[in-house]
């Protein structure tokens, strides 16, 4: 059985009200509004899709189709530490796949997933634009350049230690 989303009935908050005031109810605003929702909540909650469906007069299936098409949108909240490994060509050539493999091994989750305790999530990105520092990974947007498996281990150890404290 899939989980019923409890947030289906959440009342619109001030951010969301503001969003509706900013954008006209025109279909081409859908992706722009979803971008803001993703930015604000860290994911695109189901209730926001329901509200947008009403506001823009676009069926929910279509909105869901858009949300699942674009990789920037996520349906679930990301971990407290969202670790993103660049798999752009420049980083790949410098061994970023090894960083990704190690990360998945250490955290026991695959890319696109979040650990059960909600602490970590893994993503892949394609070029964060720091090719001079390749390979890179980012944690909550902060760039860690010239990465190695050891460097990753150190950073993870540090974060896990902090979490336990």
């Amino acid at each position: 059985m899939e989980e019923k989303c409890k947030c289906g009935n959440i009342q619109k908050d001030t951010f969301f009200e503001g969003l509706l005031n900013t954008y006209l109810p025109e279909k081409d605003n859908l992706i722009q509004m979803l971008n803001e929702i993703q930015e604000h909540y860290g994911y695109v909650p189901m209730w926001t899709q329901k509200e947008l469906s009403n506001y823009l007069n676009v069926p929910m299936a279509e909105i869901y189709g858009v949300v699942t098409f674009y990789s920037r949108f996520s349906l679930k909240p990301k971990g407290k530490y969202n670790i993103s490994v660049c798999l752009g060509t420049a980083c790949f050539v410098k061994g970023s796949q090894k960083i990704m493999d190690r990360l998945q091994e250490r955290l026991g989750i695959k890319q696109g997933e979040t650990t059960k305790d909600g602490m970590f999530s893994i993503e892949e990105t394609r070029c964060v634009g720091a090719c001079g520092l390749a390979p890179v990974f980012t944690i909550n947007g902060e760039v860690y350049g010239k990465a190695t498996v050891q460097k990753l281990d150190q950073v993870l150890d540090e974060l896990i230690k902090n979490k336990d404290n």
């Binding site: 722009q32 993703q38 858009v66 790949f92 050539v93 070029c127 001079g132």
Partner: protein, 619 residues
């Protein structure tokens, strides 16, 4: 709102003030500390450097110094970069802690901080940017203002001839005259296939419709390419100006810039630029008192490579899944909401104003017979000078890799260069002297693409590289048409088999059969070009595929299933460094004794390989 005269006045005043940016002999006691704020340098604390400089300048009450945030200087490998003008001193890998010393020594005492000077490939320290071999063969047109002006200040753009082309076009030229100049210049689209820009403008102008649109494709999705982003970050007004000129030519009053949401700095600077341009009346109604009106809106992409394909991009602007449309009809006939639409990419637009100001002949004098002007490349991978380079068309790959890029690090050999990203192909050693232009790249099985140029040394496995690109294509395929949706997946599965040592020669045959048919039968450029990395690697490195399929061997050691990392007993001196560095504790041995790798534990990360001082570890 500013009149043309007022803008001219700003230009004259600012020009004097900013002379020191471009003239090392400028007669001034002012100094400008330029700090690169491109994404690369920003990732390594450039904003903190600016903050520190500003704080120190204020504390020390120095009044002839200005700290300027600029776009990318290009040499990302040496970032964060700080340049001091007018003397043009080039400081590399500056940390926020170095600011104090730079101010004290360089600014106050007039002594260059030697330890922070950039080193050239030969090891010599260079004092100024121009001395670096990295810049010697470059010619900056699209990147002209990047690293020179503050992208968040419209006045600085105006000072360097900004919006002069637009003013000239609107006041002195007919639509056809402008299109004629663009056509004569020989400018071709910088986003991929190289369609002649002037022709595109002409076709869009010819479509009869009241409502038309101008679109800027800033959805740079090629992994490992960041040309467009650097232009947007370093010189956003150049794009706005070119779009307005395009709007005038084709008869559009609305423009859209479709930019990746993953480019927050570029988006922010575009927003600032649009706001400033609107305040000056350069965007909006009746621009420069003419009856031409033009507005620009930003539309954010949301992470879909396929949206770089022009019709998918249009779908996305309309708020839909970015699934390409069948062409024809082309956007010039039926684009956004079915209206004629002109789409060019960022780099293409970045050339427009200068072509108008300097003339078609000037532009056409640069480059090769069929490819005019310059091309910006994001040079990356196994090369010393990673960064952004702009070279005249016709420059050879060898010049880019060795003269500008400074060759391959760690004394390794060049194996191949990849251009055109997931749509392009690999260029092997034997084609290093190919002059880079649209036709010659195509002839050797690659393509210009948007400008990613990744160098690979001899430790790279070409089968895994093909697999890497197919992984990318499979995850970025929109899923609309069968050949791309299922075909690329099947190609990837075959490549995975090969890399796992489970492939056969029949698989190579199947791979080729799929490749050819996907190329021909897919709807859009993504699918049609998705097999290119496989086709070109098969063309030049077929033997490697056969080794994987028949001998089950990956000489480059990349394919884990087929490779073992072992320690050569002869060479091992028992230093234990490998053991110390191994992240999974797979290496055993004691004291000065030989070390052994437990193959069951080894994750083939390669850390031991690089840590061994005696080169005792290998296949």
């Amino acid at each position: 709102m500013k009149t043309l005269q007022e803008i001219q006045k700003i230009r004259e005043e600012k020009k004097k003030e900013l002379e020191l940016r471009v003239n090392t002999k400028a007669d001034t006691r002012e100094k400008h500390i330029l700090v690169c704020n491109g994404t690369g340098c920003t990732s390594s604390k450039a904003p903190k450097i600016i903050e520190n400089f500003k704080k120190i300048v204020k504390e020390k009450n120095i009044n002839n110094v200005r700290v300027i945030k600029t776009g990318c200087f290009g040499l990302c490998a040496k970032g964060p970069i700080v340049i001091i003008r007018p003397e043009d001193t080039f400081y590399a890998m500056v940390s926020p802690e170095d600011c104090e010393e730079i101010i004290q020594s360089h600014i106050i005492e007039g002594k260059v901080v030697e330890r922070l000077l950039a080193k050239d490939i030969n090891g010599s320290k260079v004092k100024s940017l121009d001395e670096l071999s990295f810049y010697k063969k470059q010619k900056r047109i699209a990147l002209k203002n990047c690293g020179v002006i503050n992208p968040e200040d419209i006045d600085e753009y105006i000072a360097f001839d900004g919006y002069r082309a637009l003013a000239r076009v609107l006041n002195e030229m007919s639509q056809d005259e402008v299109i004629d100049i663009i056509k004569k210049s020989g400018l071709r689209g910088r986003g991929g296939a190289g369609f002649p820009t002037g022709k595109k403008w002409e076709l869009t102008k010819q479509s009869e419709e009241n409502q038309k649109y101008v679109v800027c494709n800033a959805d740079e999705g090629d992994p490992g390419a960041f040309m467009d982003r650097s232009i947007l970050e370093g010189d956003p007004h150049a794009i706005l100006e070119a779009m307005a000129i395009a709007g005038y030519c084709i008869g559009a009053n609305q423009g859209f810039i479709y930019v990746r949401a993953e480019y927050p700095i570029a988006v922010e600077r575009l927003k600032i630029a649009i706001k400033q341009a609107e305040e000056y009346g350069i965007l909006g109604d009746n621009i420069f008192g003419t009856n031409f009106s033009f507005n620009i809106q930003i539309r954010l992409g949301a992470g879909a490579f396929v949206c770089g394909e022009e019709t998918a991009l249009l779908e996305s602007i309309e708020g839909k899944r970015g699934q390409p449309r069948v062409k024809p009809p082309y956007p010039a006939q039926a684009g956004l909401w079915g209206k004629p639409t002109l789409i060019n990419n960022v780099e293409t637009y970045a050339n427009i104003a200068q072509i108008i100001l300097k003339g078609a002949d000037w532009y056409a004098s640069i480059g090769t017979s069929n490819s005019k002007g310059t091309k910006v490349f994001a040079l990356g991978g196994n090369v010393n000078n990673i960064g952004l380079v702009e070279v005249p068309m016709g420059t050879t790959l060898r010049e880019i890799v060795y003269d500008i890029g400074g060759g391959i690090p760690n004394g390794r050999e060049f194996k191949a260069a990849q251009t055109g990203g997931p749509s392009g192909g690999c260029i092997p050693r034997e084609h290093l002297d190919t002059p880079i232009d649209y036709e010659s790249l195509k002839a050797i099985g690659s393509m210009m693409g948007s400008g990613g140029l990744i160098v690979m040394d001899d430790t790279k496995c070409m089968v895994s590289l093909a697999k890497f690109y197919l992984e990318f294509t499979v995850s970025e395929s929109c899923g609309k048409c069968t050949p791309c949706r299922i075909g690329t997946k099947r190609m990837l599965e075959i490549l995975e088999k090969l890399c796992n040592g489970e492939g056969t020669e029949l698989d190579i045959y199947k791979l080729e059969k799929l490749a050819v048919n996907i190329q021909k039968a897919s709807i859009c450029g993504l699918g049609q070009s998705a097999p290119n990395p496989v086709i070109s690697t098969l063309k030049y490195f077929r033997e490697e595929f056969r080794q994987h399929a028949i001998q089950k061997e990956c000489k480059a050691l990349e394919c884990k299933a087929m490779s073992q990392i072992i320690i050569d007993e002869e060479k091992c001196k028992g230093c234990g460094l490998c053991q110390k560095h191994c992240p999974v504790g797979a290496i055993s041995g004691e004291g000065r004794g030989k070390r052994v790798i437990d193959q069951n534990k080894c994750i083939k990360c390669g850390t031991c390989l690089t840590s061994c001082p005696f080169h005792a570890i290998g296949n």
